[in-house]
Amino acid sequence: MSGQPFYKKESLRNGISRRAFLLKAGIVTSGILLSGCIKKIKPGNSYKNIKGSIKGPNAKAGHILRDKTPLPVPTEARKVKTLIIGSGISGLSAARWLKIQGHHDFELIELEDHIGGNSHSGSNAVSSYPLGAHYVTIANNEDELLLDFFQECGAITHYEKGLPVYDEYYLCFDPEERLLINGQWQEGLVPDFGIKPEDRDQIKRFFRLIDNLKQAKGTDGRYAFDIPLDNSSADEKFRDLDKSSFKEYLKQEGYTSPYLLWYLNYCCKDDYGQQTDKVSAWAGLHYFAARRGKAANAESNAVLTWPEGNGWLMKKLAEGVKEHVKQGAICYHIATVPNGGIIARMLDLKTNKTYTIEAEKAILATPQFVNQKIFEGAPKRGFSLDKLHYSPWFIANITLNNLPQGKGAGLCWDNVPYNTASVGYVNANQQHVNAVENKKVITYYLPLCDYEPRVARLAAYTRTYQQWLDIVIPELEYIHPGITDNIEQVDGWIWGHGMIAPDVNYIWGADRKNAQQPIDGSLFFAHTDLSGISIFEEAFHQGIKAAKQVLSSYV
C-alpha cells in the first residue's frame, strides 16, 4: 500500500496508530495471559460442572490468508461461467438470484465446512440455537424482492387486503422483551420502571422524532431512511447526519437522560456491535426509522425468529442452490484477466491441493478485509481498509436445567439487563410450542466494544474457556442470582470480525462507494460491509444487486 501516493498521509498516521495498537494489544493480552497463569497456579473458582468449549470461524483459513503461507503452484484447472466466493447471506442470495433468472452455470465456494456465514447455527438435545444473527424484522411493504423471498420460503403464507400474512410459528411469540432495571424485570426494552418524569419526557421526545423520521422524505422523494439503505434519500439534510457520531448528535439535540442514552447505546451495541460514539448519527437513527413494515396479522415492526435464528432463513435461501456449493475450499488469490474473465486460485482444505478456477465473472461475497488479501488488484479499488471497522462479538449458548425467576415480568424472547457489558440473552426455546420445557438454551450476546476492534479481537482470541466463563457467569449471576447451579453447558463462539460497524462518514463517504465498484466488468462485490449495516436485508439485497450486475454484463 505504501507505494500508492493516494494513501501516503494515511499510512503515516497508520504508523503511529500501529505502535499505539501494539502497545495496547500488548497490555491487554498480557493481562489476560497473566490472569490465566494465576488461575492455573491457584485454581479454585472453576466451574467444574459446566461443559463446553470455545469455537469460531475456521482459524486455519484465516492464517493462510493473513500470513500468506506459501502454497504449491496449482496444476489442475477447471472452468465455470460465474464464480461466487463466500456462502453468507450475500453469496447465497446472489446464487439464488442467478438460479431464478435461469443462469445455472455457477459455483459457490465456501471455506468453512458449513454455509451461512453469520447466520450459522448449532443445536443440542434441548434446542437449536443461533451462533450469530437471530432475527429479521418483517419486510417494508415496498421491498418486493424481500417479500417475494419471504413468500417463497413460507415465512409469508398469503396476503389479506394487500398486507402479508406471516406464518404464526415464525412471528416472535409473546412475551417478546423485558428489561431488568432498578431491581425488577419490566415489559419492553425502553426504560420505564422507576425512572423520573424528566427521563420519560425525553424518551417521548425521541420517539416522536423517530415517528417523524420514519415518514420523512428527502427532496428527491425518497424515504430519509430505507432498507436497503442505498434506497435512502440523497438529500444532504439527512446524509449530513453521517458526518457526526450518534453520541455527538444526541448531545447537540439536548438528550441528556441517562436512561434514554443507555437505551440508544444498547441499541447500537445490539445492532452494530459498537457504542454511540463509534456509530454515525445517520446509522443510529436508521436503526429506528427505516422499518415501516406492516402485516395483516402482526404489529408494525414485528419480528420473525426461529430457534436456530437466521439459520432458518439461510437454509431456505440455500435450498435451491445446494448442488452449486463447494465447501472446505478457500480462494487464496483472485485476479482479473486482461482480455476479460477472472482466475481464482483455490486450496482444498481437506486434501491441501491447490487448483485454479477460470470464470467469466466472479462475485466476491466476502468481507473487504479478506478481499484486500486475495484480490490482486485491491490497491486499485480506491478505499482504505482502515475505514472499515469490524466489531468483534462473543456469543455463548447456555444450556440451563432451570431459570431462576426474578421479580417482575417472566421470561421473554429478548431479555436485557440495564447497564451491563452484554446486550442480554435470547431464549432459543421461545418458538417451541411445548407448554412446559424444563431445559432451555439461552443465547448470550456480548459485543466486544470496550477497546478498539483490533485490540478487542486479539484479546478475545487470547482468552481461555475458563476466562470466558469468568466473564459470562458473573454477569448471568447478576441477572439471575443462583443461576450457576442450573448451568449445564456453555458453548462459546467468537466472531473476530462479527459485523461491519457504521462509523462516522462510512455509509455516505467515498470509501464505501468506491469499494462497491465492480472491477473490469468481470469482478463484482456483495457483502454487508459494502452497506455499512450488517442485517439480513442488506446482505440479501447486496447479493441480488451483484447477481443483477453479473447478468447484465453478459448481455
Binding site: 411469540f173 409473546d174 412475551p175 407448554a435 412446559v436
Partner: protein, 502 residues
C-alpha cells in the same frame, strides 16, 4: 419395691393407654383421609385394632420369664412401629393396590403390641398389689389415659402438629416410658444396658423423624389449603395436591383447584354431554388435558364409543388416576378401560403431528394463567385442532368463567371463530368454581340440541341446556382480540380479570 416405683409403673399404664388409643385414632383418621368413608374406616380400624389387642393379650401368656425385660422391649417396639406408621402409610399411599394390606398390617401389629402391654404390666405389678387393687388401679389409669387421648388428639395434636408429627411424638413418649422403666429397674432387668441403648437410639431416630416430618407435607403448604392434604407430589411439570375434608376430595395443580368431588359432575356433565349426546354416531374421541379421567368417565357412558385418546402432559397425573383406589372410585376406573389410550405428551406438539380425525374433541386445559398454557388457547392451536375434527364433529373447550372473566371467555369464543369454526358458547354453575363457561365449536352449522340424555345424569337435561345457552347481560359477549402466539392477549385479560376478584 418402693413407692416411687409403684407410681412409675402406674404412670406408664397411663401413658401406654394414651399412646395406644392415639395410634388407633391415627390409623382411623389416616384411613378415612386417604380412603374416604370415615364411618367404615373408623369402624373397621377400631374393630381390627381391638381384635389385635385381643391377640396380644392371648399371646402374653407365652411370656414366662424376664417380664420386665419384655415389657421394655415391647414399649420400644410399639414406639417405633406406631411412631413411623403414618409416615409409612403416606408414602405407600401412591401404590394404592397394596395400601390396605399395609394399613391393616400396621394396625394389627400395633394392636398386638399394645395388647401385650397391659397384661404384662399387670403381671409385673401382681406381687406388689392385691388383686382387687391391681385391677382397679390399672384399669382406672387405662381409662383415664383413653379419655386424655381422645381429647388431646382432635383438640391439640392434629391442629398443631398434624398426623405425621403426632405419631412421632407419641412414639417418643412410648419409648421414653421404656427408658425410664429400664433405668429404674436396672437391677431387676437383664441386659439393661442393651435396652437402654436401643431405647436411646430409637428416641433419637423418632426425633429425627419428628423434625423432618415437615418435608412430607410442608407446614407452609398445609396452611395454603383449608382442607387436609392427603397427597402431594411434585412431578416434572407441576405440583399435585389432593385434599380431603369430610367426604369431599379436591385436586389442586400448582395451587389451582381442578375439581372438587362433590360437584365435579356438574362440570364434567356440562363439558361432555351437550356435544357428545348430539353426535349419536361418534366413535373416536379425543380428550386433551383432563388427566383425572373424569371427562373420560362421562364419555365412556356411550356404548357406541370405539376409542378414547387422552393426551395429558403429566404421567405423574395419569398414573395417579390409574392406580389410587379412592381416585379410581371417582373416575370409575375410566383410564383403565381397554377403549382408552393414554398418551403423555405435550398437546401442541402432539396435535401438530396428528393425521387422525376425531368425532368429538374435549379440550380441558388448565386456565390460561401463564404464557406457557396460553399457547394452547391460540388461533394457531385451534386451527391444528380443526384439522383433527371430523367433518361433522364437535369440539368443546373449557373457557374459564364468563362471569368473573368475560373478556377471557369471549376471547376463546372469538379465537375459535377466527379459524373458521362456528361456536356455541354456554355456561353453568359449579359451586366450587362459580359460573363456568364452555365453548363448543363445529366446522359447519349443524349443531342440534339433544332432546334427551342418557339415564343417570345428575345435572344435564334438555331443558337445562336451554338455560346454559342463555347469557344474561352481566356476561354478555364483549368484543376482544383474537388470541395469538405473538400477542397472548388471553393471558393478559385473564390475569387482569382474576386479579380483580382474588
Amino acid at each position: 419395691m418402693n413407692k416411687k416405683l409403684h407410681v412409675l409403673l402406674l404412670l406408664s399404664v397411663f401413658v401406654v393407654a394414651t399412646c395406644g388409643l392415639i395410634y388407633e385414632l391415627i390409623a382411623g383418621t389416616l384411613a378415612s383421609y386417604l380412603l374416604g368413608d370415615s364411618v367404615t374406616q373408623f369402624s373397621t380400624i377400631i374393630g381390627a385394632y381391638l381384635f389385635s389387642m385381643g391377640i396380644g393379650s392371648w399371646v402374653s401368656k407365652y411370656f414366662e420369664k424376664n417380664i420386665v425385660y419384655w415389657f421394655i422391649q415391647l414399649e420400644i417396639l410399639v414406639g417405633i412401629v406406631g411412631g413411623t406408621s403414618s409416615t409409612i402409610l403416606f408414602l405407600v399411599f401412591e401404590n394404592a393396590a397394596s395400601f390396605r394390606i399395609i394399613l391393616y398390617s400396621l394396625v394389627g401389629l400395633t394392636g398386638i403390641l399394645v395388647g401385650l402391654e397391659i397384661p404384662l404390666l399387670m403381671r409385673i405389678l401382681k406381687d406388689r398389689y392385691e388383686f382387687k387393687d391391681l385391677v382397679s388401679r390399672v384399669f382406672t389409669f387405662d381409662y383415664i389415659g383413653a379419655l386424655l387421648a381422645s381429647l388431646v388428639f382432635p383438640l391439640l395434636l392434629i391442629p398443631y402438629l398434624g398426623l405425621v408429627k403426632t405419631s412421632y411424638l407419641v412414639g417418643i413418649l412410648n419409648v421414653t416410658v421404656a427408658l425410664i422403666v429400664c433405668v429404674n429397674f436396672k437391677k431387676e432387668v437383664k441386659a439393661a444396658a442393651y435396652l437402654q441403648t436401643s431405647a436411646i437410639i430409637s428416641i433419637l431416630g423418632l426425633l429425627i423423624g419428628f423434625v423432618y416430618a415437615t418435608t412430607i407435607t410442608s407446614y407452609a403448604e398445609s396452611m395454603t389449603y383449608s382442607d387436609t392434604i392427603i397427597y402431594s407430589k411434585s412431578t416434572s411439570y407441576q405440583r399435585i395436591v389432593l385434599t380431603k375434608k369430610g367426604k369431599v376430595l379436591r385436586l389442586f395443580l400448582n395451587g389451582n383447584l381442578q375439581f372438587s368431588s362433590d360437584d365435579e359432575y356438574r362440570y364434567h356433565e356440562a363439558l361432555v354431554h351437550p356435544g357428545l349426546q348430539a353426535l349419536p354416531g361418534a366413535k373416536d374421541i379425543l380428550v386433551m388435558g383432563g388427566g383425572d379421567g373424569l371427562a373420560v368417565r362421562e364419555i365412556l357412558r356411550y356404548p357406541q364409543i370405539r376409542s378414547v385418546t387422552l393426551v395429558d402432559l403429566d404421567k405423574g397425573m395419569t398414573e395417579l388416576f390409574k392406580s389410587n383406589t379412592m381416585l379410581l372410585a371417582l373416575n370409575k376406573r375410566s383410564l383403565l378401560s381397554p377403549k382408552v389410550k393414554v398418551i403423555n405428551a405435550d398437546a401442541f406438539t402432539w396435535t401438530r403431528e396428528q393425521k387422525r380425525k376425531f368425532d368429538f374433541i374435549v379440550i380441558d386445559f388448565p386456565d390460561p394463567s401463564n404464557f406457557s398454557v396460553g399457547k394452547l388457547y391460540t388461533n394457531t392451536f385451534y386451527s391444528l385442532v380443526k384439522e383433527m375434527l371430523a367433518p361433522n364433529g364437535i369440539m368443546v373447550v373449557q373457557s374459564t368463567s364468563p362471569y368473573v372473566a368475560p373478556k377471557s371467555f369471549w376471547t376463546v369464543d372469538k379465537t375459535l371463530r377466527s379459524v373458521g369454526l362456528h361456536t356455541i358458547p354456554y355456561h353453568n354453575y359449579v359451586p366450587s368454581f362459580g359460573d363456568w363457561g364452555y365453548v363448543m365449536a363445529t366446522k359447519n352449522i349443524t349443531y342440534k340440541k339433544p332432546d334427551h340424555y342418557l339415564p343417570g345424569m345428575r345435572f344435564i337435561s334438555a331443558g337445562g341446556l336451554n338455560q346454559m345457552l342463555y347469557f344474561p347481560p352481566d356476561m354478555a359477549r364483549v368484543e376482544t382480540e383474537v388470541n395469538k402466539l405473538n400477542n397472548q392477549v388471553l393471558v393478559k385479560y385473564f390475569e387482569d380479570e382474576w386479579a380483580a376478584v382474588l
